[in-house]
Amino acid sequence: MHMLKRWPASLWVFIALFIACLIAVPRFGTVQNFVNLGRMAAILALVSIGQGVVIMVRGLDFSIGSAVALFSVATVLCAPVLGVAPAFGIGAVAVLCLGMLNGVLISYLKLPAFLVTLGAMIGVHGLCSVLVGGVPIEAPVGIDMSGLAHAGWFGIPVPAWLAAVAFGGSYVLMEYTSFGREAHLIGSNPRAAELAGIPVPLRILQAYVLNAMLVAVAGAVLTSRLGSGQPNLYPELPFEAIAACAIGGIPLTGGKGSPLHAVLGVCILALFMNALVLFNFPTYLQSMLLGVLIVESVLVQHLAGRFAWRAGSAQMQTNT
């Protein structure tokens, strides 16, 4: 029973949902469908892991949608001049700089995270629009970027491998290194973390940079898949990532969670979306579902927290 308790609740939700889909959803259990699912979920998994790390230190990042757009625009603009690989490098550098800027404003200048990243979202979107002159730009003929997105090893697409590696690496980082432990401590009680000698602003900055690294990988995959620079590449990305984290069981108040929760949330979300598509439900239902899931997860977390507080209030000590 002790062992079972260590597995997150969202795992059981995922398993139940998976079985339900196998039974009830038409064309669910096919290899082609799983490959498609993997492809879609890979992007979301990458950014949700990053978002999870940021949420764990009591932060939030709304700018990731504009960040991947920035990646695509920067890459496509530079590719004719520098070649494909260096162009991807430029895209990555742009996204990392954005992440670092966000991080510095939030951790050292102590500006509120939602304000900074919301501003970044707007500003970077505008920047992308200006750079491309308003119309998505295609990579010129002769430059092929599709290698990353469409290649596969042993039948599994490269993006899924990337997501798996990112998950593995992040899981080890968050669960088995001092960085991860300190991130948990900071989210749980920032003042106590400071007094315990933890470099709080530095760790928060590092969290945002780590997030930016994962977002850069996602940006690379998206750019490779589409082969064009689009300011409106994926505006719902931050909301889907936050939803995935909330669904997976990472409280927005910080201090708890792991990449496993984020990935489980992505899996559950992907199953829902996949079912909607296979049932031929119209796309607007997807955004409605997302909205309902976000609110419901936060509500459940809140109510569960209140219940736990009441149950544990007898334990509460007080200074008299």
Binding site: L60, L111, P112, F114, L115, V116, L118, G119, I122, G123, H125, G126, L127, S129, V130, G133, G134, F239, I242, A246, L252, P282, T283, Y284, L285, Q286, S287, M288, L289, L290, G291, V292, I294, V295, V298, L299, H302, L303
Partner: protein
């Protein structure tokens, strides 16, 4: 020995000048109108054709939607909240109204549109005030749901256009004393909002809950009801804005209004309504909205692309937010 509780006056029962008392003017309150006038001055000097009766008429008529949204946003910013779903709610309201019109007639359809907004706002209010969830998350969720609902209704409909000559068409095209009727309507709505904040007890409660929530609870203000009603009013204003959009363009578009919620919040902040709550007036919201419209109008006349305008607007919004935060922290320390 009598103790002075005010260094300014030496007589008991003395009052500040009547005008000042009525409008509670002070440096902070003036910042919005001053910023607005500054922007107009700047634009007048650098934009060709900015200063003309025709152009000013344009600015006012274009801002009518933002006026209404900003007023709605004011209600929730006063209680330390904000609502990013108003753009989506406006779109939904317009879609609902257009669809209902053939069935229930124009007036009832308009009422329905506004009610839709009210209900969406009440839902936000319930989740935020009664369950204590964060406004950012709740209004984010409702944005997604409402947008989806609007798209759903749009796809199910035959026509999204206002047919024939109705009241809304009239509002959209007719003018009175040189200004479109919509602007006059916006003025009436502003006046009503002002009356609510000044004369109704609910209006005073808004300032109390935003100014010191603990004290408000202590003196007996019904805090939860006040907060819920504030969000409901914000939603109703969004519904009204949806009607304005419908009147102006003649069609309901489900993706309309995206981005306007941030403009509405920015209008309040630029006007001097601090996000910390407890302070602000209708006129400040309007001044801020005018500032934004003048900015966009001026940039347009300068011939800059819409994307540059968007970037500048984004920069303005972010700077306003950061400035507000810095000023608040500075005041606290």
């Amino acid at each position: 020995m009598n103790t002075q509780l005010s260094s300014a006056s030496s007589q008991p029962w003395s009052r500040l000048p009547r005008l000042q008392q009525m409008t509670s003017l002070n440096a902070q309150a003036l910042s919005g109108p001053m910023a607005c006038m500054l922007m107009i001055a700047v634009m007048a000097s650098i934009s060709p054709g900015f200063v003309s009766a025709n152009n000013f008429g344009n600015i006012f008529s274009q801002s009518s939607v933002l006026f209404v949204l900003a007023i709605g946003q004011m209600f929730v910013i006063l209680i330390r909240g904000f609502d990013i779903s108003v753009g989506a709610v406006a779109a939904l309201a317009s879609v609902v109204a257009v669809q209902a019109m053939p069935h229930v007639g124009e007036s009832a359809a308009i009422m329905l549109g506004i009610m839709t907004g009210l209900l969406a706002g009440a839902l936000n209010g319930y989740l935020i005030a009664c369950h204590g969830l964060q406004p950012i998350v709740v209004t984010l969720g409702t944005t997604l749901v409402v947008r989806g609902a609007a798209t759903a209704l749009e796809e199910a409909a035959d026509s999204m256009s206002l047919g024939g000559d109705g009241m809304l068409q009239l509002l959209g095209y007719a003018a009175f004393l040189g200004l479109p009727l919509l602007v006059w309507l916006a003025a009436i709505i502003s006046l009503s909002a002002w009356l609510i904040t000044r004369w109704l007890p609910f209006g005073r409660w808004l300032y109390m809950v935003g100014g010191n929530p603990e004290a408000a609870r202590l003196v007996g203000v019904p805090v939860r009801s006040t907060e819920t009603l504030a969000y409901a009013l914000c939603g109703a204003c969004a519904g009204l804005a949806g009607m304005f959009l419908l009147a102006r363009s003649g069609t309901a578009i489900a993706t309309e209004g995206a981005g306007m919620e941030l403009q509405a919040i920015a209008a309040c902040v630029i006007g001097g309504i601090a996000l910390g709550g407890g302070r602000g007036s209708v006129w400040q919201a309007l001044a801020g909205a005018l500032f934004i419209q003048a900015l966009l109008n001026g940039l347009n006349l300068l011939g800059s692309s819409p994307f540059v305008s968007e970037m500048v607007l984004g920069a303005v919004i972010v700077s306003a937010g950061i400035l507000d935060y810095v000023v608040r922290k500075f005041k606290r320390d």
